[in-house]
C-alpha cells in the first residue's frame, strides 16, 4: 500500500491525524496533511483505509 496526499485540496479537518497518528500529521502553519510514512506497515493498513474514507475533501488516497 502506498499513500498519496494532496495538500492543495486538503481542508485541515484532521481526521487522518486523529485516526492514524503514526502515519499522518498536520503542518504547524496551515494544518494541512503531512505524510510521516508513505508506505505504512501492514498492521496500520486498516486504519489508513478508514482515514481515507473519513477524509472530507478527498485529499488522501491509496494505490
Amino acid at each position: 500500500m502506498e499513500i498519496k496526499a494532496d495538500t492543495t485540496v486538503c481542508i485541515g479537518a484532521g481526521m487522518c491525524a486523529l485516526t492514524v497518528p503514526e502515519v499522518f500529521d498536520q503542518s504547524e502553519d496551515e494544518g494541512t496533511v503531512e505524510l510521516l510514512q508513505k508506505v505504512p506497515p501492514q498492521e496500520l493498513e486498516d486504519g489508513v483505509r478508514r482515514a481515507v474514507t473519513l477524509c472530507p475533501s478527498g485529499a488522501i488516497s491509496i494505490a
Binding site: 485541515g12 491525524a17 503542518s27 494544518g31 472530507p56 475533501s57 478527498g58
Partner: protein
C-alpha cells in the same frame, strides 16, 4: 411521488422526525416544495447526503438557495437586501471559501486542540466545583453545558468572557426558528457591531489569541475579520453546548450506556462519536443548491434546484449504521455526517471532540449518582431552534 413540506417535529426527543424516517425507508431523494414555491429536494439517506456534501457542483451560497422553513423566508429576504457580511465563509464557495479556510486551519489542528486539553480540564473542574457547591437540583445547561464551550471559544478567540451575556442572548435569537425577521437582523447587527469594536481595540492592544493573530497576519480587513469572528463565536457557542446538554440527557435515559462512558475510559472517544451520530443536533439542513445538472444515485438534480439534507435520518441509515436507532457507545460511529462532509466540514470539530471527551467522563465521575430532577418528559426540547438540544436540564445527585 411523495411531496414533502417542512417543518418536521421530533416526537420522541432522541429520534429523528417519524416522517423523515419513513421517507428514508422509501428512498434517498424526495421532491420537496419549499415555502416560496420552489420545487427542490429533501435527502434522507446517508450515501446520497454524503455524495452531495462532497460534490463540487453543489453551492453553499445563501443567495442561490431557497429556505426550507416558512419562518426563514422573511429573514433571508431581508438579509439579501443587505449585503451578506464579508468573512462568513461558511456561505461561500471556492475560491473565496478556500482563502478564509486556509487562514484558520492551522489554528484548529489535532495537535493544537490536544495542547488545550489541560486548560479545558481546568475549566470543566471549576464548573463541577460550582455545581457541587450549589448543591442539587441545578440546571445543567446553565451551570455546565453552556459555560464550558462558551469560555473555551472566548479564550481561544480572545473575546472577553465578561461580554458574553449579550451575544449569548443574540446568538439564541439568531438560531431560534421562531425569531421574527426584524429581531434577528437587529441581533445580527448588535453582534457584528460588538465584534467590529473588539477588533478595533485589538488592533491597538494585541494579545496572544486567535483574533490578534489574524489581525497581525494582515490578510483580512476589519469587515472580513468581523465576519470570521462572528462565525467562530456563534458556532462555538450553540453546538458543543447542546451536545453536552442533550448528550447528558441521552446518557441519563440510557443508564447502561452512561455506565460504560463513566467506567471505561477506552469507550469515551468512540462514545463521543456515537453521541454525535445518534443525536445529530443539526436540526435543519445543511442546504445546498446545484450549480449544474447533477445525477445523485440515479436522480437528476437540475441546475438551480435546492436540496435540504435531513441529517438526523441519514445518520440513522441502517445501510451505513446497522441497528442505527440504538445508542451504542461501543459502535464504530466514525463517518457520521454531524460535522458535515466535503470542504465545509466543521472547522472546530477537533475542539468540540476535545471538550466532550473531557467533559462527559468528568461529570459522570464527579457525580456518580447524577440523575434527572424531573421526569424525562418534562425536559423542554429545542424543537424551535436550528441546533437541537435541551433548553434546560434539571439534574440532582
Amino acid at each position: 411521488m411523495s411531496d414533502v413540506t417542512f417543518p418536521m417535529v421530533r416526537r420522541r426527543p432522541l429520534d429523528p422526525p417519524d416522517e423523515a424516517t419513513e421517507l428514508r425507508q422509501q428512498g434517498a431523494m424526495h421532491r420537496m416544495t419549499y415555502p416560496d414555491g420552489h420545487r427542490g429536494w429533501l435527502v434522507t439517506r446517508y450515501s446520497a447526503a454524503r455524495a452531495i456534501l462532497a460534490h463540487p457542483h453543489f453551492s453553499n451560497r445563501q443567495e442561490l438557495s431557497h429556505p426550507p422553513l416558512p419562518s426563514q423566508l422573511e429573514r433571508v429576504r431581508m438579509q439579501r437586501e443587505r449585503k451578506m457580511p464579508a468573512g462568513v465563509f461558511l456561505r461561500m464557495d471556492p475560491p473565496d471559501h478556500t482563502r478564509y479556510r486556509k487562514l484558520l486551519t492551522g489554528q484548529f489542528t489535532v495537535r493544537r486542540m490536544k495542547a488545550l486539553e489541560s486548560r479545558i480540564e481546568e475549566i470543566v473542574n471549576a464548573h463541577l466545583d460550582g455545581m457541587a457547591a450549589a448543591g442539587g437540583p441545578v440546571d445543567l445547561v446553565q451551570m455546565f453545558a453552556l459555560p464550558i464551550p462558551s469560555l473555551v471559544i472566548c479564550e481561544l478567540l480572545g473575546v472577553p468572557y465578561e461580554d458574553r451575556a449579550q451575544f449569548q442572548e443574540d446568538s439564541k435569537l439568531l438560531l431560534s426558528l421562531e425569531t421574527k425577521a426584524e429581531e434577528a437582523i437587529a441581533a445580527l447587527g448588535r453582534v457584528m457591531a460588538y465584534l467590529y469594536g473588539l477588533i478595533q481595540r485589538k488592533r491597538k492592544e494585541p494579545s496572544d489569541d486567535l483574533l490578534s493573530g489574524l489581525i497581525e497576519g494582515g490578510e483580512l480587513n476589519d469587515e472580513e475579520l468581523t465576519g470570521v469572528s462572528f462565525l467562530l463565536l456563534v458556532a462555538g457557542h450553540e453546538t458543543t453546548a447542546n451536545m453536552l446538554g442533550l448528550g447528558t440527557y441521552a446518557l441519563l435515559t440510557n443508564p447502561d450506556q452512561l455506565a460504560a462512558m463513566r467506567d471505561d475510559p477506552s469507550v469515551v472517544d468512540n462514545g463521543v462519536e456515537e453521541l454525535l451520530r445518534y443525536l445529530t443536533i443539526i436540526h435543519v439542513g445543511p442546504i445546498r443548491t446545484a450549480l449544474e445538472d447533477v445525477e445523485i444515485e440515479g436522480t437528476l438534480i437540475k441546475a438551480g434546484e435546492t436540496v435540504t439534507l435531513q441529517l438526523p435520518a441519514a445518520n440513522r441509515d441502517p445501510s451505513r449504521f446497522p441497528d442505527g436507532d440504538r445508542l451504542d457507545v461501543t459502535r464504530q460511529a466514525g463517518g457520521h455526517l454531524t460535522f458535515g462532509h466535503g470542504i465545509h466540514q466543521c472547522l472546530g470539530q477537533q475542539l468540540a471532540r476535545a471538550e466532550m471527551r473531557i467533559a462527559y467522563p468528568a461529570l459522570l465521575r464527579r457525580f456518580p449518582g447524577l440523575r434527572l430532577a424531573v421526569t424525562p418528559e418534562e425536559v423542554p426540547m429545542r424543537s424551535d431552534m436550528g441546533i437541537y438540544g435541551v433548553h434546560r436540564l434539571p439534574v440532582t445527585w
